[in-house]
């Protein structure tokens, strides 16, 4: 085994020992691992970004993938295996269409008040809808708007980024691109998976 403390020559692939260490750290961590956290574990001369890139390449096409989430790295199962894994792993219910629309409005217009959400949707917002989003940890209060009544402002959480595998809010498609691209015109969500 190569000495993990030996410096990598520039351009060369990172030493196997560094890959092992990064693999173990990302694997054992309860949350996505940032390159900064990895840097603290690796020898000083090691390039955390290069190590992570090499590790991601190693998992290419496998049942588990190294993905970048909200600025950190995490192992997740490959998306194409979803249908088969849902048969053995317990899956919570999907959010209903109204909740998904409300979530999208909050994501695109945050921080946003409930009256503003209702204005955008052109319909009243049932309390249950906001409760669903809160319970799933996808939205959170972001202070109050300094207008009469001081309504609560809502925004998305890091869990929102994590759940939808986004690195940042900017990864959401631009509003204009959504309207131009007619592909996902059908707003109905995919059908509920049959209960396991």
């Amino acid at each position: 085994m190569p000495d993990p403390s030996s410096p990598d020559s520039p351009g060369e692939p990172p030493a196997e020992a560094l890959l092992r260490l990064a693999e173990a750290m990302v694997f054992a961590a309860p949350a996505p691992v940032t390159p900064r956290q990895l840097t603290q574990l690796l020898p000083e001369t090691a390039d955390a970004d290069a190590v992570l890139a090499a590790l991601r390449a190693r998992y290419e096409g496998r049942g588990v993938a190294l993905v970048e989430i909200a600025g950190g790295w995490q192992f997740r199962t490959a998306p194409d295996l979803a249908a088969r894994l849902r048969r053995v792993v317990q899956v919570p219910r999907r959010l209903p269409r109204v909740a998904m629309e409300t979530l999208a409005i909050i994501a695109y217009h945050q921080p946003v008040t409930r009256p503003e959400i209702e204005e955008l949707r052109g319909a009243a917002l049932g309390q249950g809808t906001l409760d669903q989003l809160l319970e799933a940890g996808l939205v959170a209060p972001r202070g109050r708007k300094e207008t009469p009544g001081r309504p609560t402002l809502w925004g998305t959480t890091p869990a929102f980024l994590s759940q939808f595998a986004l690195q940042q809010l900017r990864d959401l498609p631009r509003r204009e691109d959504l309207l131009v691209d007619p592909a996902p015109l059908d707003p109905t969500p995919p059908p509920e998976p049959p209960p396991a």
């Binding site: 269409r97 409005i105 949707r121």
Partner: protein
């Protein structure tokens, strides 16, 4: 409005009836308007607001024939759209017509925004969701080790423990009055009776105090006991007492009529 798909489109119903009966299925008037706009199969940017308005009013009119109790917001929107229609039908250039154009553009923009949000929701829903489609490691591995070998010790804790132990032990001890080592009247009587027989002349009463007296308190107690004993013996005539001046020395000498009960014996004292 022949090809309007019902919003949840799972049953093949006659579209017009479907729309009429399913007003409740729409999330408000804007939702219905968007559905009608989608029915125009046009880019939302080039949508005909006038056609849209006419469709909406037709739906509401049809619905009112069946159900009189339409929700207020459907009717409010209908009233506003009627106003809008009247403006849009005016010849171009009139001030009121421009007012209508502006209002129509605001409506179109609202519909575009709602459509964009709906598409964004669909975009999100189509992504592999954590916990639904992709999964992180199912079993946590806790690499945090808890070391409880060290002791949490501090001086305040030590002192609290010491005080607690001492108080508890102290409270448990039984109260025993301290033994007073004072020269009693009885002691004084014995001593005085023993020594006074040898007295040739007046002598100070203090000479009859015991030798080993520690504290001033004990000294004064012994002096008063001896005085009391002297008074008792003088009453019986066994001795005589005299004091020449206030606070002067008290003098004692053998009496002329020795009392029959003096000196009292150690065991045979009548007043125990």
């Amino acid at each position: 409005m022949s090809d309007l798909p019902p919003p949840q489109g799972e049953r093949p119903v006659a579209p017009e009836d479907a729309l009429l009966l399913r007003l409740d299925g729409f999330e408000g008037p804007l939702d219905l308007l968007l559905e009608l706009a989608r029915g125009q199969k046009l880019d939302l940017a080039r949508i005909s607001i006038l056609a849209l308005v006419e469709q909406y009013l037709a739906v509401i009119e049809g619905a009112r024939k069946i159900r009189l109790e339409l929700a207020a917001d459907w009717l409010v929107m209908a009233a506003w759209l009627t106003w809008l229609k009247s403006r849009l039908l005016l010849p171009k250039g009139a001030e009121a017509a421009e007012e209508g154009e502006a209002a129509a553009e605001i409506l179109a923009e609202r519909l575009r925004t709602l459509q964009a949000m709906r598409l964004a929701a669909a975009w999100l829903a189509a992504r592999p969701q954590l916990g639904h489609d992709v999964f992180t490691r199912g079993q946590e591995e806790d690499l945090v080790e808890t070391d409880r070998s060290r002791l949490l010790l501090d001086v305040p804790g030590l002192i609290r423990a010491y005080l607690a132990a001492m108080r508890r032990a102290g409270a448990r001890r039984q109260y025993r009055p301290a033994v007073l080592s004072v020269w009693t009247v009885k002691d004084a009587l014995s001593r005085l009776a023993l020594l006074v027989g040898n007295l040739p002349d007046w002598a100070s009463l203090e000479q009859f105090l015991p030798d080993s007296l520690g504290t001033p308190l004990q000294h004064r107690a012994a002096l008063s006991s001896t005085l009391l004993a002297g008074l008792e013996m003088a009453r019986g005539g066994a001795i005589r007492l005299r004091q020449d001046a206030e606070f002067g020395p008290i003098l004692v000498r053998r009496g002329t009529n020795p009392s029959p009960e003096s000196p009292p014996s150690e065991e045979g004292s009548p007043h125990a």
